[in-house]
């Protein structure tokens, strides 16, 4: 079966399940007895196994199968959850992640069998139970096999060889006297059938509905316990014709063959019942049979032994391997093709609530209606009434605005998709650093554009690591300082206007500004004089310079020199900004501001030197009219004092090198923009108005001018550049 078309979905859902497992195991660590959590873990592992098996990822299947086994034991209460199991499980999750990564990149699960993990998992299982059972199981499996080979040759009359006790024989006779018939049936189950007992049970039920099973080989109990190889024999009394019985069994799946015939009693005539001489040989084998079944009873009770679970797995694995082999060969042959297939595997899908799509559909149909009414109102022969057209345009505007909103909503995903892996990460870091810490996440339902959310994982992870490693003090230092020995890290996300703020906060040491200052001088990043002039804020900003790490010791967790500069670059590439607030001894907080969406923004259109420019509304604080006389010069820079805040004046025509209105006027229009807590006034020629624009990237050309973040096409076809207010400050 070609399963490649399901790969995307498989990956998506597998990731979800792995995440769920991770969450649940975290929960279990705190609450090792919680039955709901244990059930959930079992279920998730089980589902993963089924999915991996279906896709032919046998290694992943084996691993999840063993995980499921362990939790099956936990669930039944035979195994207690210990930290060792939790650790093994987390390692398993990492291994699963690796499989998923491999599958995503190459459509193959890779060749790592993770034998050590599987061994560890098996070590978790209660030993005294599994070991002997395994042996027994093997013996038993071997025994009936030899038995079954023989009768297969003369399967025709197998039922006639069955030794019957006299109660059965007399029952058969009585039935025959009543006009019913007694048949023997031999049922062979297909070799590839996986749950033979259940299959046989279906046969028993089907036959039982049509007659009475008075004897069988092996016993019905043994059949239900899967103590048979591939075939079993039934003796049935029924008033239905044999053909009915055969047909009902043939209609059951996975039955290879069924034969049947009228049962021949050992004595052709019926008078043997009272003959005492015959009693001895008939009853003689009986005790033997009883002891045989007695011997297996303890094993048969309760649940299916683990070994039995593992056995069918072992059989399936090689079969599945063979199946995927030709596929693999093909892929090595056409390696280039495989690479492109791998790329396909990396295609991103997004799951959309059907309601959102319905809404979209609805809006699109409204759009069509709007188009139609415009067409009809301007059709030749009709005099288009101006107000009618205007009405229609207003309607069209409403529809497109809604449409825009809906499409954006479709693209939005909650940041949960990245934040949900953090608790696990903090747990690991805490273990590694031997610090106690707790992560509190709020606002994980806050939605952002999918592309933004995808990119957000790394920077956030870095900030969290930074807080855990550099921010939080060690336990004894915290106790000395009178703080809670358990450190807290907060990740809060919330929406402010058209942007989303994500704050990573800790109650640790905060940034030691003097240490940073010293370090910067040591490194030659700044001179002594510069250092003295710089404000605390500017010093903190030094942290974002490439390769600036103040950690006294480079640890595994963070502080390898690549860091905050990468965070900053990443966030800025998403049109966002990072800001730090810190209080020595009390902790620091890193604030990330991101636009909710990247594609369409609200802007203020302004004119400078006859050109039109768009300034994103999100960065505009106010628009002011300034008298020429109010402009002061400080350190050779023009500034204005606006309600107590001194802000630098940026003459856009100078920056953009265009012909501007350079003749000093009495009054000028200034757009005050804001970046974090810094402001600047942009001097423009004219205000045009507010406009919603679609951002088009300028590609490599825009790199030459850092004040331009993109361009847009206006309604009249004219191109307007979008000013990057952040770069101007």
């Amino acid at each position: 079966m070609d399963v490649s078309q399901y790969l995307d979905m498989f990956l998506d859902e597998t990731k979800e399940h792995i995440q769920n497992l991770s969450d649940q195991i975290m929960r279990l660590e705190e609450n090792p007895e919680d039955a709901d959590t244990i059930n959930e873990i079992f279920r998730a592992a089980h589902t993963l196994k089924g999915m991996a098996g279906t896709m032919g990822f046998t290694r992943m299947q084996t691993l999840t199968h063993d995980m499921e086994n362990v939790f099956s034991e936990v669930r039944s209460g035979r195994l207690k959850v210990q930290s060792q199991i939790i650790d093994v499980f987390f390692s398993c999750l990492d291994a699963l992640d690796e499989y998923v990564q491999n599958i995503q990149n190459t459509s193959e699960e890779g060749t790592n069998d993770n034998e050590d993990l599987i061994k560890k998992l098996n070590d978790c299982l209660p030993k005294e139970e599994t070991a002997p059972e395994k042996k027994e199981e093997k013996k038993e499996a071997a025994a009936p096999k030899a038995e079954a080979d023989m009768p297969a040759e003369n399967a025709g009359g197998k039922w006639n060889e069955l030794k019957l006790d006299d109660a059965v024989i007399s029952a058969i006779k009585m039935a025959r006297d009543d006009g019913d018939e007694c048949y023997g049936l031999n049922v062979v189950i297909q070799e590839k059938c996986l749950l033979k007992a259940a299959r046989a049970f279906l046969v028993l039920r089907s036959v039982g509905e049509r007659g009475e099973i008075i004897a069988s080989n092996p016993s019905t109990q043994d059949i239900e316990d899967e103590k048979f190889d591939r075939d079993f024999t039934l003796i049935v009394i029924t008033d239905l014709p044999l053909e009915d019985l055969l047909k009902s069994i043939r209609n059951i799946s996975e039955i290879e063959n069924v034969t049947g015939g009228v049962l021949m009693l050992p004595e052709k005539a019926g008078e043997t019942v009272e003959q005492p001489a015959k009693e001895a040989p008939v009853s003689a084998p009986l005790p033997a049979k009883e002891t045989e079944s007695m011997g297996s009873v303890p094993n048969a009770q309760g649940e299916i032994p683990i070994a039995a679970l593992q056995n069918p797995m072992a059989q399936v694995a090689p079969a599945a391997k063979e199946e995927t082999k030709p596929q693999r060969e093909a892929s090595t042959k056409e390696e280039k093709k495989a690479v492109s297939a791998g790329k396909h595997a990396g295609n991103r899908t997004i799951r959309v609530d059907i309601e959102k799509l319905d809404e979209l559909m609805n809006l699109v149909s409204e759009l069509i209606i709007a188009k139609n009414s415009i067409v009809s109102s301007t059709q030749s022969g009709k005099v288009a009434s101006k107000s009618n057209v205007k009405d229609n345009i207003e309607y069209l505007e409403r529809v497109t605005t809604n449409l825009h909103e809906s499409v954006m909503k479709v693209r939005m995903v909650p940041i949960e998709t990245v934040t949900n892996k953090f608790p696990r990460m903090i747990r690991d870091i805490a273990k590694k650093l031997n610090k106690k810490m707790e992560l509190y996440i709020s606002g994980e339902e806050t939605e952002l554009d999918r592309t933004v959310v995808d990119e957000l994982g790394d920077p956030l992870m870095h900030l969290l690591r930074n807080s855990a490693d550099h921010g939080l003090e060690s336990e004894d230092v915290r106790i000395k300082r009178g703080k809670n020995p358990v450190g807290s890290i907060f990740l809060d996300a919330y929406q402010v206007g058209n942007s989303v703020v994500i704050e990573v906060r800790d109650d640790g040491n905060g940034i030691d500004i003097e240490a940073v200052r010293k370090k910067a001088i040591e490194r030659g990043t700044i001179t002594q004089e510069q250092a003295e002039q710089m404000t605390d804020k500017e010093i903190i900003d030094l942290l974002f310079l490439p390769s600036f790490s103040t950690a006294k010791q480079v640890t595994d967790v963070s502080g390898r020199g690549v860091g905050l500069d990468v965070v900053k670059a990443k966030i800025e590439s998403l049109s966002g900004e990072v800001e730090v607030k810190s209080r020595l001894g009390e902790g620091s907080s890193w604030i990330i501001r991101l636009p909710m969406t990247l594609a369409i923004i609200q802007t203020l259109m302004v004119g400078v030197g006859g050109e039109k420019y768009a300034i994103p509304l999100s960065s505009i604080q106010s628009i002011e009219t300034i008298h020429h006389g109010d402009v002061k010069t400080v350190q050779n820079k023009e500034v204005i004092n606006l309600r107590g805040i001194v802000l630098p004046l940026v003459r856009l025509y100078d920056v953009l090198e265009v012909e501007g209105n350079r003749i000093p006027e009495e009054e000028m229009t200034v757009v005050v923009v804001r970046k974090g807590e810094r402001y600047a006034g942009l001097v423009i020629d004219e205000l045009i108005g507010q406009l919603e624009i679609v951002i088009k990237p300028l590609g490599k050309y825009s790199k030459q001018c850092k004040f331009i973040s993109g361009a847009t096409i206006l309604g009249d076809g004219e191109v307007a550049l979008i000013l990057d207010a952040n770069a101007l400050i």
């Binding site: 589902t47 999915m51 749950l195 799946s253």
Partner: protein
């Protein structure tokens, strides 16, 4: 008329696969359900000719849902989807009236075979 089947599995991926297998072979998917509770709801809504029921599901497992559905309609045809190692549960569901069972990982022909036989 094409026979309709209700697919019940907690993994959307599994449902999609089964859906494809069924539709390619001329069956109609009456509805999909991701847990036992939904399965019962959808059963009452759509009255399918057959139900394909996963055993391990959240909210309400397949066996419970099977029992409920058989209560609603004693002639309901339900085929269980199980995984290896669930023999005991499969037997329990057969006792509860399941028509047949298929074992994951699925083979398309096995699914179709079981569905055809159950609908005969």
């Amino acid at each position: 008329m094409a026979k309709s089947v209700l697919i019940c599995d907690d993994a959307a991926f599994m449902r999609m696969m089964i859906r494809d297998i069924l539709t390619k072979n001329g069956f109609v998917v009456a509805a999909e359900a991701e847990n036992g509770v939904k399965a019962i709801e959808k059963y009452q809504e759509t009255h399918p000719d057959l139900v394909l029921m996963d055993i391990t599901m959240p909210e309400m497992d397949g066996i419970q849902a099977l029992k409920e559905i058989r209560k609603l309609n004693p002639n309901a045809q339900v085929v269980m989807c199980s995984a290896m190692g669930q023999q005991a549960m499969v037997i329990e569901s057969i006792q509860a009236g399941a028509r047949d069972f298929i074992v994951k990982p699925f083979q398309a022909d096995r699914v179709i075979d079981a569905v055809r036989k159950a609908l005969e």
